[in-house]
Symmetry: C2
Subunit: 106 residues, 2 copies
């Protein structure tokens, strides 16, 4: 992953509502959650919610799955994992080389 791709992912998560949505979906696992449930749980108006779901989808951080008239959104763990790898490498590489201890970096 290079800078631009990482920025897209970071930007998608760098928004309170979207981060809340994503965290909620992470907890739900692969089955995900319908738009209505997400909106109820987080108290977000439909239009606003739809906007943010689109942003997260565009970044490939969540997936949509239609089921009847409901749409289930679920977290895309692979994308998130890729971002984490990128960040871990770009946070800790120098510190590792210098044998420094850096809290939180593995």
């Amino acid at each position: 992953m290079e800078n631009k791709a990482a920025v897209t992912l970071l930007a998608a998560l760098a928004q309170e509502t979207r981060l809340a949505i994503f965290r909620l979906l992470v907890v739900q696992g692969v089955q995900g959650m319908t738009v209505g449930k997400i909106g109820d749980k987080l108290d977000i108006p439909p239009a606003t919610l739809s906007f943010h779901l689109k942003e997260l989808t565009r970044a490939n951080l969540i997936d949509a799955r239609q089921e009847g008239r409901f749409i289930h959104y679920s977290a895309n763990y692979e994308t998130m994992g890729g971002l984490l790898s990128f960040m871990t490498e770009n946070c800790c590489s120098a510190a590792t080389m210098a044998n420094q201890e850096v809290s939180g970096c593995s």
Copy 2:
């Protein structure tokens, strides 16, 4: 760390120029790099660079150290480590519970 704090950090990094600055500083280690050098290396006009350094500083992702008439900026590994911990937990908790394998998550 809760949502709001994470959003501040993510937003600080969710910008191409700032991410480039931060990555550059991560590689420099504790000694850091002067504003002028950063500007030369990444080809950023002074005013723009100053703006972004301020943003990163505000998020506590970088530290400033004056030395003569130069200011050395360096990456704050602790802050970044904290963000990584937050993201790791909020990416992988559900997957871990479900015993799923999630690439990039540890």
